[in-house]
Symmetry: C2
Subunit: 114 residues, 2 copies
């Protein structure tokens, strides 16, 4: 991006995307949940609960519960690490990818009208 977004532009972008989310009938995730979801999909695996908790600087139960709720929505999946069965590996799903694709399109469309 050549020039960073000016204040009004940045806020308009934020407003438009958030408004679309509110209008849409998708389940709206919490701030932490979206951040977790994005981390899983943007950074290279493996993703463990502990790593995610450290990256976001939140407690492990926050991650566990976020995976519970997003798991119900099939946005992410869990799998035991067979090499070290204490670990749980968080994995991507088709629905999760679609969810983020839709989000990216929303952002892209809003940024176009700046």
């Amino acid at each position: 991006m050549a020039t960073p977004l000016a204040t009004a532009q940045a806020l308009k972008l934020w407003h438009d995307v958030n408004l679309a989310q509110v209008h849409g009938d998708e389940a709206d995730l919490s701030l932490r949940q979206v951040t977790i979801l994005l981390t899983i999909y943007m950074e290279a695996p493996p993703h463990t609960i502990r790593d995610l908790a450290k990256k976001l600087n939140v407690s492990k139960p926050v991650i566990t519960r976020a995976l519970d709720s997003m798991g119900k929505l099939e946005l992410v999946a869990r799998r035991r690490d067979e090499a070290d069965r204490r670990n749980v590996l968080v994995q991507r799903t088709v629905k999760g990818a679609l969810y983020l694709d839709r989000l990216a399109n929303l952002i892209g469309a809003s940024s176009k009208s700046l």
Copy 2:
């Protein structure tokens, strides 16, 4: 903006700003709350509860409660409409303006690193 954000860029922007919010110690507002706040500050007054509810396509109690919580944080203020005392006019505050200014800076800074 010359070219709209590509998928990866859009998601990185969203991730970075959300992560900063999670890391920060500010009260994190819900999706609806931020949208309401942004609407109040970006569109011309007056703002009534009914108008806001209609714009966001949510019920009036959602607006009332959002104003309750954001009012406690002094992000917005309420005032009776003396012309029609049934109405409540939602008003901006210094803290609210600062809050959004910080948010805009966050977005601007993240967009710079694309």
